[in-house]
Amino acid sequence: MKFSAASLFANALSGHKKWPEQFPNKEPKSRYDVVIVGAGGHGLGAAYYLAKKHGITNVAVIEKGWLGGGNTGRNTTIIRSNYLFDESAALYDHAVDLWDGLSQELNYNIMFSKRGVLMLAHNVHDVQSFTRHVHANRLNGVDNKWLTPEECKDFCPPLDISQNRRYPVMGGALQMRAGTARHDSVAWGYARAASKLGVDIIQNCAVTGIRRAPSGEVTGVETQKGFIGAGKIGVSAAGNTSVIMEMAGIRMPLESFPLQALVSEPIKPVFPCVVMSNAVHAYISQSDKGELVLGAGTDQYTSYSQRGALHISEHNISAICEIFPIFRRQRMLRSWGGVVDVTHDRSPILGKTPVPGLYVNCGWGTGGFKATPGAADMLAHTIAHDSPHRINAPYTLQRFATGRLIDEAAAAAVEH
């Protein structure tokens, strides 16, 4: 059933009893052409694009829990593409291109809101670094512009730009095409669209092993629901990637860290955009529901516990209230943790692996949500062609051997 105002109206009259399942939960078949491990936005999207763009519909997405229950449903939904390096700009901007129009493509309102992402500079080094980004973005055709403190304030009125603060605002880089989307809807929208194209979504089915032929290539996955044959396997398991890849005998250049986020109680609209500050390590937006959504950096140690420490949240709130003291009296409603997989250069790995028929999409760290459609599209392309697309070609495992890293964080360097 196509979603529209008309179908909503028609169904209302029949008491909403005729809505079909958006994504039937299937029992596994004995064999698929492609098995995707991990039903987050990336994995579901890859299945969708395999079916939609490459005509490969005999596809299963296997999920140990419930679809969209990992980082897709736990992140702060920031979408932007104002990255420094050509490789990053190409990948993330491709994603933003897909975000724009994804609701219509999927016939599912994923609520992509181009509210603008403003990244604040608090010291001379930030200014230099952001100016570098702005110029590189401009020549790459990625929108990003420099704002003075006063312009920052105009764009985001709750901002305190008084110069006597500990970290006064010295300006900001604004990407207007950036913003947020409704995280759950992204997973559900892809799941529904993929299901319609014949993809099987199998939830509550943990992968326990990866089977390989004597000649090395993959033949399928062992799961809680038995063996499932697969011509190709795409692993898109975020924080659990190391665990899955170890089943194929591959040790990954990854570490998994707890990442926390929190929301305030809902209040009436007050915050028109997304603001990020690297100097104080925090970011903030306001959801459609009215909650202020806050995020910060990871906890320091590796963990799969989905549980973080209080002091991380305290510092996060403290940092936000340093920039936006007007929010001091708001109240934290809910905090939660996810597990993010981080590579040494904080850029993803998206491509082939040493094992024939095994593909991996991981290492997105704290920024995987924004890449969802782009990563999914690239993973599907790589699986379909057994070869990466131009856009994801640099994101190999091999770069860790050659040293050809894509290190955005290192490029931002540190203060001197």
Partner: protein
């Protein structure tokens, strides 16, 4: 006294009136009232509007579980507290409270048109529409949705209140001051160990206050409670914290408490902390959080006046308030009879108890009869009447089909009880489904924690007391006379003759989630409880589903046709109740947000009007503007003065590490890329430090003070990470070396003197050091005295001029600086800041790590191949430097750039291309890292990282800027005095 106040009832002081306003109207309550109890005492139940449909709502609960009655308390500018639960807000004289989420007012709210069309806004409606035309999402639909959403008003001013935070420790932390918690505390108190008992309400007592109709050890509950409070108050090892909520339970028994200190006080002292966050590390945690009553999910269950049975009982017993004059009861659990009886005994008419069960316990039936209460067994409420307040209800007998109406002005409901597992769940304690109770109860603990009383599934006062005592290690059995708490049934949905499409049976009141919404979610494939929650938003309101989660779970379970335990339970997430941001920040705001480090010389710079820049934790003087000067003018003046005569600069922030031990040189060889064995005592050397990946990590001048002692300097921001990097390798890789590291950054103040007159200035002040160029050459260090103070005197230059860095013990820094500054007047000595320092070094082509390099630059890229030893067998980063990409041709390399147009100052960060006329995306060769106007050279200069830059010398490249492209010529980086002759001034 209002008609709803019951004198002689409740733990309030009716002798003391408290005046307040709600939505501008004046009301009077009594001391001890909450806003909800005071309003109800005035006959007001309508206190809020729901989130989605803006339906009129009154309190459902009587405590922190309340989903409906959310209000604003306005204490003046910046002191507007929103989304407060009226059931938890203590009134004080002069309180100004308002309703929220309604316009123009609570009784008539335009937003309620959502309710009229609620049929079109089922769960997940927003996923299905608002997609066409595409541009309408950003411009029309979303702004509209946002304006409709949100609850309380947004802040308009900064909260001026103070907040506090602290760490605390105890052996036993008890959460919840009901009978279980009190019994636990009494027992734990005997051990002499530190015991903390916290309770979110005004006073401890819990159900002993809410339902006091029992005797403990032969004493009335109130007397027993008073004695217990006294005992605990006298015990020196026990701390009882009221108005304190345990908001989160973290690793290793780390529990966060939020204590409210002034919200209940009419005129708190200005500056008194409003709230304090106590972060408690407990040896053992006893959770006695009690249980939360479950609403019944029936058509019309959200009209103001419909509330939980226990809430009705609490309003009576705790606050002395009748929730109505004619109060009907609808239940599936025995406990609601206690509420009915308590109300009846207070002369409130109970027209009927509607019980979904056919068989009613004989004693309850008898007691009801004795009070003349009609019981409608095996029947249900099929609808309610009244919009802003319940006026009556319809009873439906599903067996006979008979219907009848009953008038009432309040309806108490009970669907049973849900043990509060919030903190237990935060602690990652296991839970198990108890089918009899139809609730989850605690299973295996993950921390040293134990649940007692109702939160452990042990209902009734006796069970709570005994359980609490046992949890604290006791074996006491209490003798309690009480009514049997009883049992109940849970129905997945209540029978009704009305078509379910015509029903409005709410599960989550605040978020307006109905039974239909949950069934719709399941129908659409959202079969995990987490999916149901997210699709319907059930349990995601500000009460986090305290009253709704279990009902939603059971409805979903039925719809999925799986046992509840297979459908799961949504995760409880901290905080237990919404917690003020500023309380979580505690002291760490304003100047305590982050350490601000300044040098001993800083006050002098501040007096001189220096402009500062933050660098790491430090504040450094950036330039010293004189009257009418902007940064450029000041910097040009400072540069010229330094090159022509003498400049003075505070370099104290440079990191300093003393490396001492017989293997010091060996260690230096391993940690730096250049060699150290050959450096003689009294010599200095530029040190280049790489990370293991082979990229430049830090740099600085190092002096060899003795065979076994190096004075290492680091960049200002780099000091902490360099120290860690060194300790890490020393302790885990180079473990056989006899060498130790001592941070000495703040032992020394560093005064950098640069300029041809530098030596002349210091000569009269220096003792014990021969300053002659022959004896004390460039890149040498000596110890002696200056101005009578011990010094480590470095002859080094970051400017290309004759230079000294005078290290003196910190407490003498300012005095030495002032002495030299005074004596420097004949040389027009000029203080300069970091900006001038940057220009001077750029003229010489010296790099700033972090500006001209980033974490992707190798020594070779930066033109520092000379600082990488070819002979050493090992140093950090050595092997990685040989990786294929690090030795590849065409890497970005540091070069000089001269704009062809002398009037152009390139922008730092600007990108460089070979062909400015290409289409986007352009192929970029690199970027400008440093750019300044150089007076010494009479032109702008720049440094840049450019692909294959070393092979592009003399070539013309382009810097495309908005509206204009600048042509630049590639050069070397040593712009000024490339042979270094200026160092040799005598």
């Amino acid at each position: 006294m209002s008609a709803f106040r019951k004198p002689g009832r409740g733990a309030v002081n009716t002798a003391v009136s408290v005046n307040f306003t709600f939505d501008g109207k004046k009301y009077t309550g009594v001391k001890g009232d909450t806003l909800a109890s005071a309003l109800i005492a005035n006959g007001v139940h309508l206190m809020g509007r729901s989130f989605k449909y803006h339906r009129p709502r009154g309190p459902v609960g009587a405590g922190s579980e309340e989903p409906n009655a959310l209000v604003v308390v306005d204490r003046g500018t910046g002191r507007e507290s929103v989304n407060l639960r009226a059931t938890s807000v203590e009134i004080f004289d002069g309180m100004v409270a308002r309703s929220q989420n309604s316009f123009p007012n609570l009784k008539f709210d335009i937003g309620a048109f959502n309710n009229t069309f609620s049929l079109f806004f089922p769960a997940g409606f927003y996923n299905k529409t608002f997609m066409w035309p595409k541009s309408f999402w950003d411009k029309v639909y979303e702004p509209f949705i946002r304006n409709m959403a949100g609850l309380g008003p947004a802040p308009t001013a900064v909260d001026p209140d103070s907040y506090a935070s602290s760490y605390g420790h105890c052996e036993v932390l008890i959460v919840g001051g009901g009978p279980a918690g009190i019994a636990a505390a009494l027992q734990a108190a005997k051990s002499g160990e530190r015991v903390i008992l916290v309770d979110e309400r005004v006073k401890i007592g819990g159900s002993l206050i809410d339902a006091p109709n029992c005797e403990i050890d032969g004493k009335p509950a109130a007397d027993w409670l008073a004695a217990a409070v006294k005992t605990l108050g006298k015990a020196a090892n026990v701390t009882v914290m009221n108005r304190t909520t345990a908001i989160g339970y973290y690793h290793d028994n780390f529990v966060a408490l939020n204590q409210r200190l002034t919200d209940h006080i009419a005129n708190p002292k200005d500056g008194a902390p409003r709230e304090e966050t106590h972060r408690i590390r407990a040896g053992k945690v006893i959770l006695a959080q009690g249980a939360i009553e479950r609403p019944l999910v029936f058509n019309g269950n959200d009209v103001p006046g419909v509330m939980l049975a226990g809430a009705g009982q609490t309003f009576l017993n705790r606050y002395g308030v009748a929730v109505g004059h004619e109060v009907a009861v609808f239940t599936s659990h025995d406990s609601a009879y206690q509420a009915a009886f308590d109300l009846a005994d207070a002369n409130i008419r109970i027209p009927v108890i509607i019980d979904v069960r056919d068989d009613i316990r004989a004693d309850l039936r008898a007691e009801a009869e004795r009070r003349g209460i009609d019981i409608a067994a095996g029947q249900v409420v099929s609808k309610t009447s009244g919009k802003l307040r319940i006026t009556g209800l319809e009873i439906y007998d599903p067996q006979s089909g008979a219907k009848r109406t009953v008038k009432c002005d309040a309806l108490l409901m009970s669907g049973g009880w849900t043990p509060s597992l919030h903190l237990w769940s935060h602690s990652k304690g296991g839970i198990k489904w108890d089918a009899d109770m139809a609730a989850y109860v605690p299973d295996v603990a993950n921390e040293n924690a134990v649940c007692a009383g109702a939160c452990n599934g042990d209902f009734g006062i006796a069970a709570a007391l005994t359980g609490g005592n046992k949890a604290a290690g006791g074996r006491k059995s209490y003798s309690v006379t009480e009514r049997d708490f009883g049992t109940g049934v849970t129905l997945d949905s209540l029978p009704n003759y009305i078509k379910d499409t015509k029903q409005k049976a709410f599960v989550d009141f605040q978020n307006d989630v109905t039974e239909k919404d949950i069934k719709l979610a399941v129908r659409e494939g959202f079969k995990s409880i987490e999916h149901v929650k997210r699709y319907t938003t059930n349990g995601m309101a500000t009460d986090q589903g305290k009253t709704s989660n279990l009902n939603a779970l059971q409805i979903a379970s039925k719809a999925v046709d799986k046992p509840v335990e297979k459908v799961g339970l949504t995760t409880f997430r901290p905080p237990y109740t919404p917690t003020t941001f500023a309380a979580l920040i505690g002291h760490c705001e304003g100047k305590l947000f982050d350490v601000k480090r300044v040098t001993p010389i800083d006050p002098w710079a501040r007096e001189r009007g220096a402009v500062y820049e933050p660098v790491g934790n430090w504040m450094r003087a950036r330039y010293f503007p004189q009257e009418g000067e902007d940064m450029h003018a000041a910097v040009r003046r400072e540069c010229v003065a330094t090159r022509e005569s003498l400049g003075i600069f505070d370099a104290s922030t440079l990191g300093k590490i003393e490396v001492v031990g017989p293997d010091a040189a060996k260690f230096m060889n391993l940690i730096y890329s250049n060699p150290w064995s050959s450096l003689k005592v009294g010599g200095c050397r530029y040190g280049l430090m790489l990370n293991e990946a082979g990229f430049i990590y830090d740099d600085g001048v190092v002096g060899r003070m003795a065979e076994d002692r190096f004075h290492v300097t680091t960049t200002t921001g780099g000091a902490p990470r360099v120290f860690r990097h060194m300790e890490d390798y020393l302790q885990t890789e180079f473990t056989d070396l006899d060498v130790w590291l001592t941070s000495a950054t703040e032992q020394w103040s560093v005064i950098a003197l640069n300029g041809p007159n530098a030596r002349k200035l210091i000569e009269p002040f220096v003792d014990g050091i021969d300053l002659s160029p022959e004896s004390f050459g460039h890149m040498q260090v000596r110890t002696g005295k200056i101005c009578g103070v011990e010094t480590r005197l470095f002859r080094v230059s970051f400017s290309g001029e004759l230079g000294f860095e005078i290290n003196v013990p910190s407490h003498f820094g300012r005095a030495v600086w002032e002495t030299l500054f005074e004596a420097g007047q004949p040389y027009d000595i000029t203080p300069y800041g970091t900006e001038t320092m940057h220009v001077l070094r750029a003229e010489k082509g010296f790099i700033i790590v972090g500006q001209d390099t980033d974490g992707t630059v190798t020594p070779h890229d930066a033109g520092l191949s000379w600082a990488v030893s070819k002979k050493k067998k090992d140093f950090v980063g050595r092997r990685s430097l040989k990786r294929s990409d690090l030795v590849a041709q065409g890497r970005k390399q540091l070069v000089g750039l001269l704009p062809e147009d002398d009037s152009v100052l390139l922008e730092e960060g600007a990108q460089i291309v070979a062909d400015p006329n290409q289409a986007l995306p352009m192929t970029m060769l690199g970027h400008v890292t440093s750019s300044y106007y150089s007076d010494a050279l009479g032109r702008p200069i720049a440094m840049a990282l450019v692909a294959d830059g070393f092979n592009l010398n003399d070539q013309t490249l382009y810097v495309p800027m908005p509206g204009k492209t600048h042509a630049v010529k590639v050069t070397g980086t040593a712009f000024y005095d490339p042979k270094g002759e200026r160092l040799n001034v005598v």
